[in-house]
């Protein structure tokens, strides 16, 4: 392989190489330092005169005397069944002291888009055992449902609880977890690893770790490596894969860093204008394929800077993903776990995975009614602060109480408490029965007669 020594400029993570033979766009590049160390990079811009290479690690040690080798192929990743149970670096190298991965296949890490015509429709309900998700923001197989959180909130616990408890009731198909950490601290990583080990989840997991002190640019490829692995497990081995990506905010920061180094015209808040497309190329790698076993379900986690949901990172994510689970500081302060605020949370694919044949016929309407009640009760809290409880009408007083009950009984649950969907819905009915039955305008009478605690057993019907 030809080695060039024509580096002309090094700026941030970018290396500019002159006078090369034709180099392909997107090609993998190895840069050889004087001591023999090899650093990897990728071609971002290529022409006869100049090739721009983005390095995935630090540029420490790269100089004009470093050798540049163009490998002639785009970045590929070795994948295989053996990867289950392994811990890899953010760049895909084993760091658990075990042997190198013996590849069954080498796959391009950018991954191609699933042809929308070939996609299977997600419809399998995943029971996470968390009422606020199962009951009101249901997750289905093949969905991408991010957790929007803030610094200092227990989003990691929520993600772990989902990973631990997620199952499709009545199904025995094999499933796996792919966990990709981007820029999280060693402490956080340990927390995840301990929980995986405690629950035995590690043997069916593949872990990619890019820690806070690992090179920021490496974060650009970490989620791609994780998703390539997930696609292999799902579409070649027929497994149902849950992918957890944390923290997407760090990924976007890395993206901004490279954009700035390339002197690109920045978009909102300095993030590159193509961030939507770039994030879409990650999130859209969730789904199912018609006529094939296996699925990729994604739970990306991101911390909203300043708890601001309109910040470009959560904003663009929300436009791509199929809903969001919002972790809320106020609930956390009240001591409620999991502090999921259902009001701004949403699952777009919920309607495909619930109802008769999936969960229970009353699911949608119970969920809507609880939403409406909680939203109204929550609004009334503001009013109570001004006029006091006594000035409320009977209707409003009941709604206010409903909101409290909802938070304390429906939202609140234990870290290891695994509620079945039946339990969740019955709990919902219990809470709704504190409201006058005429107020349940979103539920039809047949369902009330069948499930409402006050009517289902007795002869009394509405």
């Amino acid at each position: 392989m030809k080695e060039y020594r024509t580096i002309n400029k090094i700026a941030g993570p970018l290396v500019f190489v002159e006078k090369t033979e034709p180099v392909a766009y997107g090609e993998l590049v190895n840069i050889v330092l004087f001591d023999g160390t090899i650093k990897r990079g990728q071609v971002l811009d290529t022409s006869d005169e100049l090739v721009v290479v983005q390095i995935f690690e630090t540029t420490t040690g790269i100089g004009k005397d470093s050798g540049v080798r163009f490998t002639g192929e785009t970045i590929k990743m070795p994948v295989g069944r053996e990867m289950l149970g392994r811990i890899l670096s953010g760049g895909g190298k084993p760091i658990d002291g075990g042997p190198e991965i013996v590849p069954e296949k080498r796959l391009d890490i950018t991954g191609a888009a699933i042809n929308p015509y070939a996609r299977g429709m997600p419809a399998d309900f995943i029971q996470t055992g968390i009422s606020t998700i199962d009951g009101t923001n249901t997750l289905v197989r093949g969905q991408k449902l991010p957790i929007f959180s803030g610094a200092g909130l227990p989003h990691n616990n929520v993600a772990l609880q989902i990973a631990r408890q997620a199952k499709v009731p009545g199904s025995t198909e094999s499933f796996a977890v792919v966990f990709a950490a981007m820029g999280i601290t060693k402490e956080e990583a340990n927390y995840f690893m301990q929980d995986f080990e405690r629950t035995g989840a590690l043997e069916r997991a593949v872990v990619f770790l890019n820690l806070a002190d690992d090179p920021a640019v490496e974060r650009i490829i970490t989620p791609r490596l994780a998703l390539t692995t997930a696609e292999y497990l799902a579409f070649e081995l027929g497994m149902h894969v849950l992918v957890i990506l944390t923290d997407m905010t760090n990924y976007c920061e890395a993206l901004r860093q490279i954009g700035a180094a390339r002197e690109e015209v920045p978009g909102r808040r300095g993030y590159p204008g193509y961030m939507y497309t770039d994030l879409a190329c990650i999130y859209e790698r969730a789904g199912m394929i018609k006529g094939q076993k296996g699925s990729v379900t994604q739970i990306p986690i991101l911390t909203m800077p300043g708890d601001d949901i309109t910040h470009p990172i959560p904003d663009l994510t929300g436009y791509i993903t199929e809903g969001q689970i919002v972790v809320n500081r106020e609930l956390h302060r009240k001591g409620i776990y999991p502090p999921i605020n259902v009001l701004p949370s949403l699952s777009r694919l919920m309607n495909l995975g619930i109802g008769k044949g999936h969960t229970r016929e009353d699911h949608k309407k119970v969920s809507d009614q609880m939403y409406a009640g909680y939203a109204e009760g929550n609004d009334l809290r503001g009013l109570v602060a001004i006029v006091g409880k006594d000035a409320l009408s009977e209707r409003d007083r009941l709604l206010l109480e409903f909101a409290d009950l909802f938070e304390n009984r429906f939202v609140r649950q234990g870290y290891d408490e695994d509620r079945s969907i039946e339990d969740t819905l019955n709990l919902g009915w219990d809470l709704l029965s504190t409201l006058p039955v005429e107020q349940l305008t979103r539920i039809d009478r047949d369902l009330i007669n069948k499930y409402h605690p006050k009517f289902k057993a007795g002869a009394k019907k509405v």
Partner: protein, 588 residues
């Protein structure tokens, strides 16, 4: 989309000089703006977007990884064109009109590159029924024959850019789209297919002002903020406020004859939902599967960005083609913000001077050119046809002051403002009744008077007034609580709640409530008005608001939404309302 090389011009080969993402530079290429070129050994499709001295700058519709400087570039000499003819309906295309079903056969479940596929099947035979007679003079736009494509009759026309002439031969029977069906006396031969450059609007004889509403079956749209056939509307809203559901509801239930749905830079699973659902849904008018009148374009967010830019043009060209046959077409673009972002991305790669928020300075011009392709027209052959355009806008952070929303609002006539607060409350469709508007109200008044009821316009204004009044009262309620309001205004609050919960809220997932025709809308609103009249009268007679709120028949009214044959039930409720109120009045 397949592009045939122009036979008259010798194809010139150029050489690639630079590759940086979807934008590449070639030299030694004889090119004109917007020529379609084939890039590299794999012949990836691209389009010329800038010429600068020796350099020709090309946007490539496919992924460019692995392409090297020095590879060949050839010019087809044609601009990006859509293939128009039988076979369009029920199809699903990517942004450059490649049929996705054919791509699955050719390259499997994932979209690889370097595969071209024609927009129409060139093998399938269609039964052509001639209409033009031998000796007849045919002009651009003249319908020369028909093909029963689905339950829709596909009319075969002389292309708009052809010259007039006399028919010498007109055939009848089964033909592929390429076979000649008509020969003119001057020897020109016409097959069923025509090609039209997507960036050029198809010509019409005249554009007219719209006077007929596009009935969508959605109460808040038809009832309060209607769009006319041939009109334009925008639906801006933050994520999760229900843009896509509203767009899909319109695609399903609007009374257009043809629907073109563009999924531009949106989610793959959403397109799958449309694809799975549409064949099972029936058109409320014809009873045929909705898919039979639908053309889908799906360029999801992770498919190449240049093809996303083209998808909107491909879609509107197909819409115009059906309009020229004399059909009412509605086009949904979800989302125009992603289209604008594609423009921004290409523009920034061209290192153009950015305008507001990094969008190119020509953003406003492109948006208005696109929306202006809507309209109620007299087509070249004299038939009336229309294209209604409904564009979703996804403003960052839900902030309507951003450039795409603002530039769109300057052009469109109808504004359906989605509101995250409403959707959080599960008030769907989450369209804010105070911020939204329709500038077609006056133009459509005549239609409502004649087709619905002379009372309709009055009752609509009444409902808007109540809602407006409620908004004012709510401000007071926020401060002092509702019990502190005068009794008449407590009734107003209750009536407004009924308008919101009964009339405005509509359940897209309920088999009956998903579509509500104008008569039912009128009857529902009339029932609410009846309640209001009785309630105000009772209040004057001394009945307390609490007693009014406890009226039983009021609680029955929401059920009407879910009953298909609602008239008997509604009459019963209205009668009960009357009885209950007279009892209250006499007791007071």
């Amino acid at each position: 989309m397949e592009v045939k090389e122009k036979k008259t011009k010798e194809a010139k080969q150029g050489v690639l000089k630079r590759i940086a993402g979807p934008v590449v530079t070639a030299v030694n290429l004889d090119a004109h703006m917007y020529d379609v070129v084939k890039v590299g050994k794999e012949e990836l499709m691209g389009e010329v977007i800038k010429i600068q001295g020796e350099n020709v700058i090309i946007q490539v519709y496919e992924d460019t990884s692995g392409i090297r400087p020095g590879e060949p570039v050839s010019n087809t000499g044609l601009s990006l064109a859509a293939e128009l003819g039988p076979g369009l309906l029920t199809s699903i295309y990517d942004g450059i009109q490649r049929p996705l079903a054919v791509l699955v056969d050719k390259m499997g479940n994932f979209i690889e590159r370097g595969v071209s596929a024609p927009g129409l099947s060139h093998e399938k035979k269609w039964t052509f029924k001639p209409i033009a007679k031998v000796g007849q003079t045919v002009e651009p736009g003249t319908i020369i024959g028909e093909v029963q494509e689905t339950n829709i009759v596909h009319k075969i026309m002389i292309p708009p850019n052809a010259k007039a002439g006399k028919v010498k031969v007109i055939r009848s029977g089964d033909f592929t789209v390429d076979e000649t069906v008509c020969v003119l006396e001057d020897g020109r031969e016409f097959p069923m297919i025509q090609r039209w450059p997507v960036r050029v609007p198809r010509p019409v004889k005249e554009k007219k002002n719209p006077t007929i509403p596009l009935i969508t079956g959605q109460r808040i749209l038809d009832g309060l903020f209607p769009i006319a056939k041939g009109g334009t509307a925008a639906i801006p809203g933050p994520f999760g406020s229900g843009k896509t559901v509203t767009q899909q509801q319109l695609a399903k239930w609007s009374d257009a004859e043809i629907v073109v749905y563009i999924g531009c830079g949106e989610r793959g699973n959403e397109m799958t939902e449309v694809l799975t659902e549409f064949p099972h849904l029936e058109d409320p008018k014809s009873g045929k599967p909705l898919m039979e009148r639908t053309v889908l374009i799906a360029n999801t967010s992770n498919m190449p960005v240049a093809a996303r830019e083209a998808s909107v043009y491909t879609g509107i060209t197909i819409a115009e083609y059906f309009r020229d046959m004399g059909y009412d077409v509605s086009l949904m673009a979800d989302s125009t913000s992603r289209w604008a972002e594609a423009m921004r991305e290409i523009s920034s790669r061209l290192e153009e001077m950015p305008g507001e928020e990094g969008y190119p300075a020509y953003l406003a011009a492109r948006l208005s050119e696109f929306y202006e392709r809507a309209g109620l027209v007299t087509s070249l052959n004299g038939d009336p046809g229309s294209v209604s355009v409904i564009g979703a806008v996804s403003p960052p952070g839900g902030d309507f002051s951003e450039p795409v929303t603002q530039n769109t609002l300057r052009i469109v006539k109808v504004f359906w403002a989605l509101d995250a607060k409403l959707s959080q409350r599960r008030h769907f469709p989450a369209i804010n009744w105070l911020n939204s508007y329709s500038l077609y109200l006056e133009a459509l008044q005549g239609y409502y008077d004649k087709e619905v009821s002379p009372e309709w316009n009055k009752i609509r204004s009444w409902a808007m007034e109540v809602l407006q009044k409620e908004a004012e009262l709510q401000e007071i309620v926020q401060l002092v609580g509702s019990d502190a309001l005068p009794e008449a205004e407590q009734v107003t609050i209750e009536v407004a709640r009924m308008i919101r919960e009964i009339f405005l809220q509509q359940n897209a997932y309920d088999s009956v409530d998903t579509f509500c025709d104008m008569t039912k809308q009128y009857d529902m609103m009339k029932a609410i008005k009846l309640f209001a009249d009785l309630a105000y009268a009772a209040q004057l007679a001394g009945v307390s608001p609490a007693q009014i709120n406890a009226v039983k028949s009021k609680g029955e009214l929401p059920q009407i939404k879910f009953i298909k044959d609602y008239k008997p039930e509604l009459a019963k409720i209205e009668k009960q309302m009357d009885t209950e109120f007279s009892a209250l009045r006499s007791a007071a």
